[in-house]
């Protein structure tokens, strides 16, 4: 066998992309008129075809792309990083939600502290100092030096 052993878990991202393309095709067909949907649906159909070939290849032969050394930027170098990945993505999502609700000036120090202390596993003191210094620098640069009015958040606007 030339490629890596087939692993059904590798199919998951391809299936997510497949669902996205199918949704795009159906939504475009149902909501757009014939002239405006021509090019988008053509692009989606070609992409769908390529993806199906990739999926078939993945199911029956595995794929060379599963080798992280062949991936862009060397791939991600943490084996079985799923739980850390979920936490990292959740922390970013929480940070953005905090920006939306509380505004930058409250959300940034909060995000930095949680990120450094919890995800980065640094001591609370280090996290607090870094969060305070970085937030102060952001405030000085953006609010004072560049005169941007940073978003105050839904709760305070």
């Amino acid at each position: 066998m030339s490629g890596a052993e087939p692993d059904k878990r590798n199919l998951l991202p391809s299936i997510v992309v497949l669902v996205f393309i199918l949704g795009y095709l159906v939504s475009g067909y149902l909501t757009l008129d014939a002239t405006t949907r021509l090019v988008p649906l053509l692009a989606a159909a070609v992409t769908l075809l390529l993806l199906l070939i990739d999926i078939v290849q993945l199911m029956f032969r595995g794929s060379d792309a599963e080798d992280p050394h062949l991936a862009e930027g060397g791939g991600v170098k943490v084996p079985d990083a799923s739980s850390r990945e979920l936490v990292a993505i959740a922390v970013v999502a929480g940070g953005v939600a905090a920006v939306y609700l509380l505004g930058f000036l409250l959300a940034i120090p909060l995000y930095l502290f949680v990120s450094i202390a919890y995800l980065g596993q640094q001591s609370p003191r280090v996290a607090l100092i870094v969060a305070a210094l970085a937030s102060l620098t952001i405030f000085l640069v953006f609010e004072l030096a560049l005169s941007y009015r940073l978003y105050p958040g839904v709760l305070f606007s």
């Binding site: 070609v46 792309a65 991600v76 850390r84």
Partner: protein, 502 residues
Amino acid sequence: MADLLLQAAVGVLSPGTLIFLFAGVLVGLVFGVIPGLGGTTALALLLPLTYGMEVSHAFAMAGGIMGAIAMGGSISAILLNAPGTGPSAATCLDGHPLAKQGRAADAIGAVATASPLGGLFGVLTLLIVLPMARDIVLLFGPPEFFLVAVFGIVTVAISSSRNLLRGLVAGGIGLMLSFVGYDTVHGGVRYTFGSDYLWDGIPLIPSLVGLFGMAEMIRLSIEGGTVAADASAVKLDGVWAGVRATLRHWKVVIRGSITGTLIGAIPGVGGTVATFIAYSATKKADRDPDSFGTGRIEGIVAPESANNAKDSGALLPTLAFGIPGSAEMAVFLGILMLHGLQPGPTIFADHEQDIYSLIFALTLSAVLASIIGISCVRWLAAITLVKGQILAPIVIAVSLVGVYAINLTPGDVVLAAVIGVLGYLMLRFNYPRLPLVIALILGETAERGFQQSMMIGRGDLSIFLHSITSITLVVLILLSLTWSFVPLLRKRFAARISGDVS
């Protein structure tokens, strides 16, 4: 042209602009030294910050970053055997063995000389080609623009991933996303699902910041750790020996520079390919090729001259056709657009002065980076000791604020974060990001070119074969696709033969 160059030189050398150039060089060196960040991330994070700047200042800063990245990347390649950027990986081959022999200074001296010389060669080539570029671009009508866009997407998809299908799928998704928003050809709104925010399409700048800047930072926060354990092991004495050695090998500098400029001009092929080809060409041409990899100074000079020359090569398709030659150029395209410069045939006529300023900034930044790089090499090496888990959240926070500052729209912050996560997942599951972003940029050009061609040709597809230019482009697209299957077929053939033998 001499007048314009002189004006550009005066503009860039004015104290106000020089400060931004200097700042760009420092940022470029720092981002270059830290493995995994590189020029694309630095430019993506800088992009929103340039919004309030004058065009000349923004170009000086971007030029400073682009010129200094190569130097920074090579410092960590030599000292730590951890290339700060992809193209600097070739420098590891002979640079780190030299460092282990206690001759790191020789290697850094060679980088500091070959890098600006390569940059200078690339810029001179660009200056010669630029006046002709205007005439070349005028040969292009709607069918040619459509084909150029398709060619750009195809070459990037093929070259940015070892898995051709995934590269093309990523390009296809980028195209699909580029159709979101108002249809400029027929009118009507597509795929906005009632959101006013998406009427103008998916904004490029938050997408770039998310896909390149934030995705890399999420990866860094997950992988954690530091690059180097001990910066005190760095030995640095006698840089001038490396400078003299480079000047002695001037033929290697010229060969590397030509390779870098030519390969840089091909969309999507990228700097890493350019530096490795320059390295292997020098190795093949040498009388003692087996000694490469043990600490030959030519093994540093060749890739380094190619590394800086490639930027000028990549600038040509970026400016003339709006087709970025690399990920770095894709982000740079965002900076151009942010400041109202629309790449394409008219850019040379409308913004000649700005372009010459950029070219001058690129040249000067390579020289400045060499001087600063040599002076601050020990401190730069110490940056690699900063923990990823501390660095990543700070950079994410700054980039979110920067993205918001462009339009003062909270939607941009959410979009950058969503695309950042998407970019990370693409990294994780080996989908290349560059084809997606190139297709996102070129989608509108491709669609407009296609629709206008159909109107001109009254629905007849032979319009795409009506001129020598369009026929050449069709042949190039077909050749690129065919050529990309050659390694695959060769591998299958080899596997079959080995199967038969066993």
